[in-house]
Symmetry: C2
Subunit: 139 residues, 2 copies
């Protein structure tokens, strides 16, 4: 069947990512582009997740400058090969680590975690600047 | 249960991506980092897929210089939220478009396609340079 491609509005795109759990963060690392999966939550219109401080993601996204921001892309999709249908959302925005005690406590309380928990994990927040998405369905 | 994190060797990582169908390509676009899902195949140790020539991905990855290469990341995962287990593989490598007739014919023949087919689609090939992966299981 013919594919029907529909652009998603921002509110629909944000609603969809609010219902999923795993997304992929992309950024330009020290050795070129990087894409890594993260287990995230949407809190206060931001994408929040934890990363290992000394793994690639934590190292690259820590600039050492308090409050510094890093440009990232964040992608979530639900694509079903058997029917060649589904949706994808990509956010472009800025990432920074949550390093104040109140902010960390709020995210801990909200259950923002990692599958393989480690000590000294960093909390990161992505603030969306540009949101786009598409749905592919079959007529 | 405690998470067991295991690094994957290159051959195991390539075997796993050979069995999946949807991956995400990441690169530095004109407006910052980009992550987009693609329907791919592994052919001759390369990741091949089609993109719309005039969409973001096609535009950004076309340099206009014949044979030119573009640094990209390519990520595939199978992560299961209910059990917080699964695997992920990230390839860093170079992407270029397949613009010779013999190469295009080979990929068409191999059934490399897009879910929403368009005319004038570009065939792209990623040549892996660095391959890494992890498996998370529960003890």
């Amino acid at each position: 069947m013919e594919a029907i491609v529909e652009e998603l509005g921002e509110s629909e795109a944000l609603r969809l990512i609010g219902q999923a759990q795993v997304g992929r963060i992309g950024f330009t690392g020290r050795y070129g582009p990087v894409v890594l999966p993260v287990n995230y939550k949407v809190i206060d219109a931001g994408i929040v997740f934890r990363v290992e401080m000394y793994a690639t993601l934590g190292e690259d996204l820590r600039t050492g400058i308090p409050g510094a921001e890093y440009r990232v892309a964040f992608e979530v999709d639900e694509l079903l090969p058997p029917t060649q249908s589904g949706w994808m959302v990509m956010i472009q925005g800025t990432a920074h680590h949550v390093d104040d005690e109140a902010g960390r406590a709020e995210l801990l309380q909200a259950g923002v975690g990692q599958w393989a928990a480690v000590e000294n994990a960093l909390f990161m927040r992505i603030t969306p600047v540009h949101v786009a998405g598409r749905r592919i369905s079959r007529g």
